[in-house]
Symmetry: C2
Subunit: 256 residues, 2 copies
């Protein structure tokens, strides 16, 4: 049974979805069976993998709020070996509806339990908030991957995210670990990038992935074709960096 | 009594905070009295204006949840004419605590009422979610300014945001109008930028600001010095574009 990895950071626009899609695709290209769970009502992960979010029969919403098994919700993607639990806009209601549900924080963990064994790895794309959907993802996860832009505001939110991870670990999920920080949209040419990167590496030391993701417009273009970067432009720097990240992930045991 | 403008988009990282800080500063530089309200628990707007978010005595949380008047919460910034209602991390609790409060959606409107007259304009920096804090901001606002990146995922979320604005208008705030869409982090050199910009202009026509904000690293550097771009680097393209935006805002009545 492979790990469940939550891709989380409450800071918006740091590359959570881009990482879920492209790390997922790179792992599937290495012949792993991968499940991506889209836990964001924006459903960017769903559409980035070529699925029409307005035509999805059932979504994560049905699993969390209507007790439907994931079995009947999981969809294929264009990539062999990569499946998805899609999101739809009903999910934005779940954040409030979940408030009154008993054991609301462990719904996703319970829904995942019957299907986990069929996959080598599960990636959960979280919304840009420390809300009940992110909480469900952290309780269901074994590890957390934190994408971070090399910019000032990115540094600000980390303390709160780490606090949340510690709280989840203490209250609901003792095995939860920080898998690592992934530096995204890096532009080596700017001083800001260098300064913030140094600060992040000083703070997190060996918990920062060696692989960094460069700013690469091909990564931003690929979702408009509903494709991961590997099928959209395999020769791009974006594709190269996510393949390297997949290799790094597979080669190390624990970063801790 | 000047307008209250909510700066909102549930898509993360599109430049909401950067716009609140720098449009606010540009309007204050034009001798207007400006109030910025930080409605995001990340408190990026608070720290981007040089205020230590961990040392804030009282925040928007105290106004919403503890009935404290804004009078005693508003802080000065380093800029003459620009004041702020700061955020702090307690605000992340408010999203859940507000669920059970009667008339929870109009708390901010009621707290703003006694102080609005002292300002020519109020800008509200919203979090990247359609949650109760964003709802409060939309109910309190006269107009909504929607920053959008010129990228594919940015297009995806617009329909939902417009639906939310219409719902707020129908249920709680009949005067709420879309002030305009602001294109941010524009990189004229890429095809993606041109294609998405055309699509946005086709869809929104005259409701897109003529001023666009270019990608400019000085805008990302300024917050690490706790300064708006005008005091950090007045000669930068970032400063120029926000001054132009302030002029455009002051010169037009309604975009509708
Ligand atoms: N390395 C990169 N280079 C260039 N563009 C990128 C890169 N990574 C992501 N993008 C683009 O930047 C934007 C933000 O990325 P993405 O949507 O993946 O972030 P997110 O953290 O999932 O956002 P949200 O907080 O809204 O969920 C998207 O338009 C995406 O296409
Ligand atoms: N025009 C620009 N050029 C370059 N960098 C920018 C520009 N506008 C914003 N940034 C940087 O991009 C990142 C995202 O911007 P910002 O934090 O303002 O977005 P936001 O919509 O407020 O994000 P969130 O959804 O997390 O609240 C920040 O690091 C900011 O400094
Ligand atoms: Mg996302
Ligand atoms: Mg912000």
């Amino acid at each position: 049974m492979g790990p469940v990895i939550a891709i989380a950071n409450q800071k918006g626009g740091v590359g959570k979805t881009t990482t879920a899609i492209n790390l997922g695709a790179a792992l599937a290209a290495a012949d792993l069976k991968v499940l991506v769970v889209d836990a964001d009502a924006q459903a960017n992960c769903t559409s980035g993998l070529g699925i029409d979010k307005t035509a999805v029969p059932k979504s994560l919403y049905h699993a969390l709020m209507l007790n439907e098994p994931l079995e009947g919700i999981i969809l294929e993607t264009a990539l062999e070996g990569l499946k998805i639990v899609p999101a739809d806009k009903h999910l934005s209601g779940a954040v409030i509806e979940l408030v009154d549900v008993p054991e609301r924080e462990s719904l996703l963990r319970r829904r995942l339990a019957p299907v986990r064994d069929r996959f080598h790895i599960v990636l959960i794309d979280c919304p840009p908030a420390l809300n009940l959907l992110t909480l469900n993802s952290l309780v269901a996860a074994d590890q957390v991957l934190v994408p971070m832009q090399c910019e000032y505001f990115a540094l600000e939110g980390v303390a709160e995210l780490l606090e949340t991870i510690e709280r989840v670990k203490a209250l609901w999920n003792p095995r939860l670990e920080l898998l690592g920080v992934l530096l995204t949209m890096c532009d080596e040419r700017t001083n800001l990038n260098r300064e913030v990167t140094e600060e992040i590496r000083r703070h997190f030391r060996h918990q920062v992935f060696e692989t960094t993701i460069p700013r690469n417009v091909r990564l931003a273009e690929a979702p408009s074709f509903g494709q991961p970067i590997l099928t959209y432009d395999i020769k791009s720097k974006g594709a190269e960096s996510y393949l390297r990240l997949a290799r790094e992930l597979l080669n190390h045991d624990q970063k801790s």
